[in-house]
Amino acid sequence: METHSLLFSASKMAKRYPGTTALNAVELEVRPGEIVGLVGENGAGKSTLLKLIMGIEQPTEGAMAMRGEAYAPRTPIEANGMGVGMVFQEQSLIQNLTVGQNVFFGLEASYVRCGFLDKRRMYEDTRKILGEIGIDYIRPDKKVSNLDFATRQMVEIAKVFSVVTRRNAGGNLILLDEPTSVLNRSEVDNLFDNMRRMAAGGNSVIFVSHRLDEVLDVSDRIYVFKDGRNAALLDRKDANEAILYEKMVGKTVSGEYYKEDRQAVPGDEVLLEARNLGRRGFFGGVNLKLRRGEVVGVCGSIGSGKEDLCAVVCGDESYTAGELVVKGRVERFASPRQALKAGVLSIPKERREEGIIAEAPIYENIAMSNFRAFRRFGCVSARLERENARRRVDELSIRTPGINQSVGFLSGGNAQKVVFARILSSDADVLVLNHPTRGVDVGAKEEIYSLIRDITASGKGMILLGDTLDECIGLASRIIVMKDGLVTREFDAPAGAKPEQLEIVKYMV
């Protein structure tokens, strides 16, 4: 094997979405038989790069090469054909088919005789493939729905492995996106053995994980991404967790950007309190107090339980342990509607699907969380709705031709401001902001930060899941850090004495 030749390379890769740049001038090189680790904060561009490599999305700029030839897949199928496969974070196995049917899913052609599937031969070959990656204890004729999560993960890997190795015995590239989040230690070890075995066979692996110890354990070289750019490239022998942390996080952006001088001093009244709150299998033992005028930031990586905590607080899921107290009353919300009645309202993460009614005009969207306030003679009065909408559009400087405009036509930032207008028009005083600046351009971001300061100054409290760690630190007056479903640390973050990102990341990974 030539040591200098590359299996895969990507150069000057960029991906821009309207208003945001997810990836900028990124370089990545993978040698044959190598395991490359890829680390970075949420939003650093790891997932975007994987999508480009798999052909799920197309790069705005840049070029890739596979085995020295130009490589520009337009679909995952094309990528598979070139020997590139990916194990997705959400599993893609068909639950009610057997292991063997899944491994050869879409590739059954060579097992069809007179229209019938020769299952026995297919299962024999499945057994071989499972054997190659050391998991031949799994029976090929077992239904996937009867397997536990870790075993499914292994089958998923076997499937991807069989897909990419169809054309070439060696020299394939396998992408693993956060494969270890639900595995226990021995399962992780098994996975790593498999990765090393694949690498020994001349295949290469790109391993994405937020668990630095695991990345350090298995990778030959480690790429660190930050804000959609390369931040560092380290050999394993030169790397340790401290160095990786340092490269992953940046300097905290100046307080001015986040209007830190306007950060409210929390009042005394506790709006919301979580006492030993838990949801079985997702998070547990969360204690948290939210006061008037306070922003509590919740930090953690994917799978840390922060999203689930957020879902419980805004009534989307129920809790199984502890209690949730809102304004002195123990609450057990059965729906977001009940949460709203108690004064808890969320700005959801997926704005298009959960935050706005794209077809409806601005004025209706703004009134939606509080139709009661716009009633006259028992019916909703469009005039009152419009008056309110006009006022809010001015107040929040929403750029729109008029209040009759459908929200779907607004830019991300302006659509998000409509969501804020809706929240301001409700009576809720506990707001759960789930990635409030996602997909919003820089200018509008600043306006939203300013808005958040105004809202807290008026005495409302907020639980914030920041789009970036930096944002969370900048906006929050207190920060709780979660890892594997538990709170690992709490920080005070008063204006002028914010904790460093590095401090916080330590407790996240």
Binding site: T75, P76, G106, V112, L117, D148, R280, G281, F282
Partner: protein
């Protein structure tokens, strides 16, 4: 890290929760068999004459049409769709078949070819429904419901309002004859069941149907021609309806649109009660066989107990709502992690 090697107690809880749900799922999956056994035992005790050879043969005979129809519907429902064309299409096929054998209205005497043509007509109409559903991007329930109406119209037009009576000897033999104590009609239905089982388990088509119902995007990303599979499913369902129409004509010996009347609902009930949820992706033809037995046994039992037919319809409605409600509850427990 704890004894079992989980990085946190929450991760262990998650794994336990998954295992628990899997166990529940497996137990609930056996529920239809338990319900069938329970029904048979209870009816044997309370309904006079239920557990007799004569009545068992009658149950098997009543089973044939719902079973055949549910075989086609199973695949449609596995996809997450539905096929309501059975009432009209079954009636149409039954009507034209009688017009093509030796009968009181026409001079045709094509014998068994009439049945072949009838089944082919069902296949063709099913294919057309599939095309409209897939390429017209219209929900399958409305396409097939409209198709039922169209075909019911054609059925009446085919015999111009006056149904033909069959004088075909072989049909009479089929309607009354038995082999190994099981009526010929039921044998026909069992053959359709066997074919369905082979389709489901031993062809690519079967795997793809499950895949599309479970996760259409994965199926698409794997490069499967989803539209083709969907159209084939509706074609197969049309074929089954065609067979059911022929069986209906043989049974009543008259070519009339009412052959299809009231056949779709028991078939859908059979599929759902058997354990194929309306959202698709799991279940299958073996489940539907159990479901068809449950539906038939209940109807038979209600008749033996002398329950008013209007109550019977109401009970069937309650059964399907209960079955759907249970399957939805099961579906909601999906782990989204």
């Amino acid at each position: 890290m704890d004894k079992q090697g989980y990085s946190s107690p929450i991760a262990r809880e998650f794994a336990q929760e998954m295992a628990r749900r899997n166990r529940i799922e497996r137990i609930v999956g056996l529920a239809p068999v338990a319900i069938l056994a329970f029904l048979v035992i209870v009816l044997s005790l309370v309904a006079d004459g239920f557990f007799s050879l004569y009545n068992m043969q009658s149950v098997l005979s009543q089973l044939s049409i719902p079973l055949v129809m549910s075989m086609g519907l199973t695949f449609v429902i596995l996809l997450g769709g539905t096929d309501l064309s059975g009432e009209g299409l079954g009636g149409f096929v039954g009507s034209i078949v009688v017009l093509m054998v030796l009968n009181t209205r026409t001079n045709l005497d094509w014998g068994l070819w009439a049945a072949v043509i009838g089944v082919a007509a069902g296949l063709m109409v099913g294919t057309i429904s599939g095309f409209i559903h897939v390429y017209g991007k219209m929900p399958s329930f409305i396409v097939t419901y409209a198709m039922a109406s169209v075909m019911a119209g054609f059925a009446v037009l085919s015999y111009r309002g006056q149904p033909a009576m069959s004088k075909y000897e072989f049909f009479i033999t089929l309607a009354r004859g038995r082999f190994l104590g099981i009526p010929y009609l039921t044998w026909t239905a069992l053959v359709i069941f066997a074919i369905s089982y082979v389709l489901q388990e031993h062809t690519r088509f079967g795997s793809y149907v499950f895949a599309i119902g479970d996760n259409e995007r994965v199926a698409k990303n794997t490069g499967i021609n989803i539209n083709r599979i969907k159209i084939l499913v509706f074609a197969w369902s049309g074929l089954c309806i065609g067979v059911a129409g022929v069986l209906g004509a043989i049974r009543i010996g008259r070519g009339e649109v009412v052959i299809g009347t009231g056949t779709v609902f028991p078939a859908i009930t059979a599929v759902v009660v058997g354990g194929t949820p309306l959202t698709g992706g799991k279940g299958g033809v073996v489940h539907s066989l159990i479901g068809a037995l449950i539906v038939t046994v209940i109807n038979n039992g209600l008749i033996l107990l002398g329950v008013n037919t209007y109550y019977q319809a109401a009970i069937q409605g309650i059964i399907i709502i209960t079955a759907v409600a249970l399957s939805v509850r099961r579906g909601r427990k999906v782990v989204t992690k």
